[in-house]
């Protein structure tokens, strides 16, 4: 029996007991998804989109599917420690399952519904059906796994014209308690026409624990909707993080997502943005900072289908130790997507001879009236700048930290939520700036 079939076997054994309350359509989706994985297996390096990210370390761990009630040692203090208070509603998920006692659901404006996937599944599962209507394995095996196993996650519905001012914070904390768990949170965000909200996803875990987060977040923006999204991936460095952010945008909608990758042994953050309504705009950016033996993979697919849409991508990586970074950005401009304005840019700073980065910006254009640019750069610390700082008395390590932080600072500055920016500043600076006398401001 191969590792792959062993994993499918373990998980499919668990499946019937867990999901006996599923409506018939969902049971069918789950079964089809598992069958798809069983038939197609997991991606290998021969797959274009997985060329630089080997899954062997993940597939060799005997994960158990996380169930509700695991991780009961998680306390409110632990949440405070990993998730900065953004003032708005805060939904806490432990091993992928919503925990009401640790969450805070502020009063929300009429027309805004912030709830859990499990609650919606119990009360009105038909509302979720469209999110499972894609072909099994449309994305890849892990997304299919999420189809099969997802029990909980966030459910956010914004009625037409609704604005939620305070950021909605989704905190995913893993506590596998010794035996490796795979959690499969599924979050759904539906922004009806003209609605607006800011959504922050924080992923964290207990230091040193081995677990796997296999998350899918789906965002559907109707006409004129505006969603600002942030994601902080600060999992245990022994853990694995596989995520798909799937975005579908209507006419003149605006979506932005900023990602900060800090944790995990292997982390893959995949974004798929479908610009299907004319005049839609998407802004994707991120920083990834692998060190030690970490691998951070950013795979992005922006699909320009409608006319006059805009997309921007800026990803910056700092690679240290034996860290490995991947930027795999693909822009597709379909026939008829005239007036497309798309660009992508990837910049990398390599600090160690053993670090590695694979950068692969790709444009695929099938129409004429477009403005597309892309670029990639890989460099090292500027020795001349280092000497300049040292010649002014700034010690070597501090000077290095200053220059590294300067490289990513513009990305941190783009975070518009003050408490979140302060947290990221501290986390990022703490990684590179040594010594406590250096106050960054």
């Amino acid at each position: 029996m191969t590792i792959t079939t062993a994993l499918v076997g373990v998980l499919s054994d668990l499946e019937p007991q867990q999901h006996d309350t599923d409506p018939a359509w969902l049971a069918a989706v789950r079964l089809a998804a598992l069958e798809w994985v069983g038939e197609h297996g997991f991606p290998t390096r021969k797959d274009e989109d997985w060329k630089y990210t080997g899954l062997e370390p993940i597939l060799s761990v005997p994960f158990q599917a996380a169930t509700a009630g695991t991780g009961h040692w998680v306390s409110a203090d632990m949440i405070e420690a990993v998730a900065v208070d953004l003032g708005g509603p805060r939904l806490v998920f432990v091993n992928g399952n919503f925990v009401a006692e640790l969450s805070r659901l502020n009063e929300l404006p009429d027309g805004a519904e912030v709830s859990s996937f499990a609650a919606v599944l119990a009360a009105g599962p038909q509302r979720l059906e469209s999110f499972f209507s894609h072909a099994p394995g449309e994305h890849h095996a892990f997304a299919a796994f999420n189809d099969a196993l997802a029990e909980d996650g966030a459910f956010i519905h914004l009625s037409p014209g609704t604005t939620v001012e305070e950021p909605i914070h989704l905190v995913f904390l893993s506590d596998s308690g010794g035996s490796p768990l795979m959690s499969s949170p599924r979050s759904v965000i539906m922004a009806e026409s003209g609605s607006r909200a800011t959504i922050v996803e924080t992923y964290a875990g207990i230091a040193g624990e081995v677990y796997c987060t296999n998350a899918v977040t789906e965002v559907v923006l109707a006409e004129d909707a505006v969603i600002e999204h942030y994601k902080v991936q600060n999992e245990s460095v022994s853990a694995f993080h596989l995520a798909l952010l799937d975005v579908k945008q209507g006419r003149n909608s605006r979506f932005s997502s900023r990602t900060v990758m800090l944790g995990s042994a292997i982390a893959r953050h995949e974004v798929r943005a479908l610009l299907r309504g004319m005049g839609a705009e998407t802004n994707l950016d991120g920083i990834y900072l692998p060190q030690g033996d970490q691998l951070h993979d950013n795979t992005i697919f922006v699909d320009h289908v409608a006319t006059n849409c805009t997309s921007h991508q800026l990803y910056k990586g700092v690679l240290d130790g034996r860290g490995h970074g991947v930027f795999n950005g693909h822009i597709m401009v379909r026939l008829g997507a005239d007036g497309t304005d798309a660009n992508q840019n990837n910049k990398n700073l390599i600090l160690s001879e053993r670090a590695e980065v694979d950068t692969r910006p790709r444009l695929e254009i099938y129409t004429d009236d477009v403005k597309c640019t892309h670029g990639a750069a890989v460099g090292q610390l500027d020795e001349e700048a280092l000497l300049y700082l040292r010649a002014r008395g700034i010690p070597l390590e501090e000077a290095r930290g200053l220059l590294i932080y300067a490289f990513v600072q513009e990305m941190v500055d783009r975070i518009e939520l003050d408490p979140l920016r302060a947290q990221i500043e501290a986390l990022v600076a703490g990684r590179f700036v040594h010594g406590d006398h250096l106050a960054l401001s």
Partner: protein, 258 residues
């Protein structure tokens, strides 16, 4: 204050300094002139500890072996270089940079660090010396600065960091006459009994503004001639021709290990 003896420096087997001897006393300003490629900027680089040079000889600074120190330790000891080509550092604010530098020096000297407010007050006072306004402080270090602004920013750093020995490496290059006057006024305001300066320049013009106690002419990696400030005028009239005929390159000092 500073004593350079038999200083040799080579880079990738190319000999650039070939036995420089020079002594500056406290409060003195010396100028070094010389043709392109004579080793003037290499001397500056070796004094601040730029990597990549093979160096022999000795440099004693206030009794310390300067060559044994890292660049940051040299700065802490009181050495400063106004760079010929100040480096642009995107993402690092000018004000933040200078405060970090000053506090690094103060820390290494066992002095209390300045908080941002106290530093701001100090910076504002020193900015007047080089006629800079505060908008420069909120920009990234040297980024998008004109040639003249970069040089003024160097002198501002000197004014804030208060070194005991400063090397000015072609601080006048690329400056128009107004900018030259501003920079020179700033430098003159910083002259004091306890502070020595080594002014590297191609042009006698600068020395009309910053009047040196001594002028040295560097040719082929050695000091070919030294004299008073009139030497600069003589060079301006006659050029460097004639000075190289001493063929210093082949005259090895006693005890040279070259």
């Amino acid at each position: 204050m500073l004593k350079i003896e038999n200083l040799h420096a080579s880079i990738e087997d190319k000999k650039i300094l070939r036995g420089v001897n020079l002594e500056l006393k406290a409060g003195e300003v010396h100028a070094i002139m010389g043709p392109n490629g004579s080793g003037k900027s290499t001397l500056a680089s070796v004094l601040i500890g730029r990597e990549g040079y093979t160096v022999t000889g000795s440099v004693s600074f206030q009794g310390q072996d300067l060559l044994a120190l890292s660049p940051e330790d040299r700065a802490a000891a009181g050495v400063f270089l106004a760079f010929q080509h100040p480096v642009e550092i995107p993402g690092v604010g000018n004000m933040y940079f200078m405060r970090t530098a000053l506090n690094s020096l103060r820390r290494q000297r066992g002095q209390e660090e300045l908080d941002p407010m106290d530093f701001l007050a100090l910076a504002q006072e020193r900015m007047k010396l080089v006629e800079m306004d505060q908008s420069f402080m909120s920009r990234s270090v040297n980024e998008g600065f004109s040639g003249g602004e970069k040089k003024r920013n160097e002198i501002l750093q000197m004014a804030i960091l208060e070194p005991t020995f400063a090397v000015l490496d072609e601080t006048d290059s690329g400056l128009d006459i107004d900018a030259l006057r501003v920079v020179a006024n700033g430098v003159n305001a910083l002259r004091s009994e306890g502070r020595s300066m080594l002014v590297i320049t191609h042009h006698q013009r600068l020395l009309d503004y910053i009047v040196p106690d001594q002028v040295h002419v560097m040719v082929a990696g050695q000091i070919a001639r030294s004299g008073g400030k009139d030497l600069a005028i003589e060079l301006e009239e006659n050029g460097y021709a004639g000075l190289g005929q001493q063929e210093n390159a082949d005259r090895l000092p006693v005890g040279s290990t070259r």
